[in-house]
Symmetry: C2
Subunit: 474 residues, 2 copies
């Protein structure tokens, strides 16, 4: 814990294991056309949205059932071959890279919503279902699933990374919203964690252990989630601020007053400029807050009245309101397009994304200095934040062929993480550790806690076949 | 999973380990008067509120600091001696019994609230702080901690059993309300889990693994909890029903409509009669619901209007309302005294408590048949329920010297658990597995999941010294 925090490396340590030819032969015999060794397929499965790179997996298995997953893992266990679960490939932290070789296990064809239980506000589904698909399928029952990490991620991937995003400020993260799982263990056995009950004290919380385990403890093959009734009233709003500090202080006060706001997001002026260019929105080019309120009509009005007071006290202005789905979509365009607007503002760039989360009272300390540092370093960036949770992202837009820029971005990232840890926060609010934050995790959790994680991994996956080399070196 | 569910035994399997005299000598040298071998102290620490019995621990160490806990565990690790963490002794499942011998590690003197962070709505405290003490200490900051299991339990014990109780229907359980822990591991090392951030994806969720681990994976020495602003408006209510089915259906409809009710409790008519006798309350002797509403004044009125409608549709009557703390206390007396009223209704009895929790849509199926079965068996019982969560308790009041009654009660318990599992529920909503529900856990979770729990235990506590023999046989 005492060594200075060093910049993470974009060059993962590669130690590919020798894969027995018999393993591939047996995979092909079991899976036929569901097993591909075509280079284009392997390459597509060997990368993600991070700026990190590694050689592709030796093969891709397209699982269509829990039996398929169990069979693939059983073969991998027999040959001690790495297995990397794959949903839609939207990880930002190198989770999908085959740094120790092995196969990619694509579960995107396991994309059925198995049962919607409106009486208990739950749904059971396969891991390849994406969040947009899920919301389409439960809408007619008057229900929705709130967790929205931005990308149209698979629910399996969202479980694996303990995802959150907008809406988490009110509805919690995947940690709070997964009720039960079916999991294929490292030996290829199928187990279930949790039940349909809302709460339980029945032994170790294996559900919460699997959620956020980044594919290293088991392959998730079935998920039971909480759903919520579509709110009676929804109102979205944006407002502008002259200074970033004013916007951040507004956020802090909204949360400290206990307003049950459903979304509370922030873009800095630089990022608003990028989305204006990208989506021709004509927004005032200063810091912008985006909010959403859910509840009864009276409850929503009550929340809005409180928030308007706070915004006014902090010199916010230019409120825009939307209460129809179409208007809300228009208002939220800026937020939803921020990542792409940022990346497209610099053709050919790669994005190094930060993900710190701090206690709400420390948000100004964490965020304002980080933006100042990025501006001082002169590196292009965007900044978006789930600020209601104390979570924000800097996206440093680097030329991947420019070592100097890469180093600068990683140095900024390291400074930002060190600051968040000093303030009692975490290096990753929602993206996971993957390859990119392994050093940071040791500083955050301490060597003893990481040793405990490693001991659990070794006990549950003695041959280290499940997504090896992620979270901690092993 | 296929064998029929058998009744749990009140006779735990006792396999006391030989304790090296040098272990006790070294404990006494390190702890002096903080280490007691007086029989009265040992006996007081060798039992809990369950009906189970075992020989007492060989000694009791009164820890006053994390260093004390670490030193005691280090000595125990050296001699492979069991260590049973002890808070206030309010477990209902035999957690505190020294079935494998060893020492009781009493943390009740570690009872300081270390810091109240009103800006972030968190508090950090030692494990011996009780929930009433905590609420006294944070009241002046305008805050409260909602989890209320009935007993004035220690927060350490509440973490260890993943406790909940009234209020969980709105605020969640210990699972949702513990932010971070300091833990002494089985080797006597001190680690920290979690940070001050509201959410995190930084590695395995060790906090959630420790919460509910019943003292078998570590000794909790410091706890950071979420707090909540005292609600602007609080209104409590009771109402009566002619039939238990009507009361249960009222509950189901309140939850399904998404009313953010803070407490939603039920007593059957038999239990109302017991509390009338115990506390001279003069309540109408039929099924009674107790509710509490938190929010803004308008929000509370909105909830009440909805609930009144539902109650009326289900033939409820005799509403009583209370909005001052004194009146609320009076109204809640029936609920708070139910356990004692039940136990005292039969002098000399012991209570065997059930704790199933089912999906809300299955509550009527689970509860009504269980009450009918108890009535048919002719065994005295009380019934109270955190019904808003689908969780209820039957307390079978048995003569501990009457083997027939014990068997009948355990048979009723087994039937009730089997029914809950068939309905997608859990054998324990909030009390934990302890000694009494180990068989049930295997039926609920399956042999594979229990094997995974056991593998984790063996990895983190290779000499099996932390509360051995609980949750699963080992």
């Amino acid at each position: 814990m005492n060594a200075p925090l060093v910049a993470a490396s974009l060059m993962p340590s590669i130690a590919q294991r020798a894969i027995a030819p018999a393993f591939l032969e047996q995979l092909q015999a079991r899976f036929g056309p569901q097993c591909s060794t075509a280079m284009v397929v392997r390459e597509q499965h060997g990368r993600d949205e991070s700026a990190m790179q590694a050689p592709p997996p030796v093969a891709v298995v397209f699982a269509e059932s829990t039996d398929d997953v169990a069979a693939a893992v059983q073969l991998a266990a027999q040959y001690h071959a790495p297995v990397i679960p794959f949903g839609v490939g939207s990880s930002l932290e190198g989770h999908l890279l085959a740094v120790q070789g092995g196969i990619s296990l694509d579960v995107s064809r396991m994309n059925k919503v198995l049962s919607i239980n409106a009486d208990d506000l739950t749904v059971t589904l396969q891991p390849g279902v994406t969040r947009k698909q899920l919301n389409e399928e439960v809408k007619s029952a008057g229900l929705f699933f709130p967790i929205d990490p931005g990308a149209d991620a698979s629910l399996g991937g969202m479980c694996a990374t303990r995802a959150s995003g907008t809406n988490a400020v009110r509805y919690g993260t995947m940690r709070e919203n997964v009720l039960a799982l079916q999991v294929v263990t490292a030996s290829g056995e199928v187990i279930r964690t949790g039940t349909g009950a809302k709460k339980s004290s029945a032994g170790y919380d294996l559900t919460r252990l699997m959620v956020g385990s980044e594919g290293t403890l088991g392959v998730i093959t079935e998920i039971t989630l909480k759903l919520y009734p579509l709110p009676e009233a929804v109102m979205a709003a944006t407002c502008a601020f002259s200074s970033l500090a004013d916007a951040v202080n507004t956020t802090i006060q909204i949360i400290q007053l206990g307003v049950p706001i459903a979304r509370c997001e922030l873009l800095d002026g630089n990022t608003v400029r990028m989305v204006n260019q990208h989506s021709k929105l004509g927004l005032a080019e200063g810091p912008m807050m985006l909010m959403e309120f859910h509840g009864s009509p009276a409850g929503v009005q009550e929340q809005i009245a409180t928030v308007q007071e706070i915004v006014k006290d902090n010199h916010g202005h230019g409120f825009q309101w939307a209460d129809t789905p179409e208007e809300r979509t228009r208002l939220w365009t800026a937020r939803h397009n921020a990542y792409f607007a940022g990346v497209q503002s610099r053709p050919g760039c790669r994005c190094i994304t930060t993900d710190t989360c701090v206690p709400i009272s420390k948000l100004a300390d964490a965020l304002l200095d980080s933006v100042d540092e990025a501006n001082a370093a002169g590196i292009p960036y965007f900044m978006v934040g789930h600020v209601g949770d104390g979570n924000f992202h800097m996206g440093y837009l680097i030329d991947p062929d420019n070592a100097q820029e890469r180093d600068t971005a990683e140095q900024l990232n390291a400074q930002l993480v060190a600051r968040a840890l000093r303030l009692g926060g975490t290096c990753t609010g929602e993206h996971g550790v993957g390859l990119h934050k392994m050093e940071f995790l040791v500083h955050e959790a301490g060597a003893g806690a990481v040793a405990m994680m490693r001991a659990i991994k070794q006990a549950l996956d003695p041959h280290n076949i499940l997504n090896p080399g992620k979270i901690f070196a092993l």
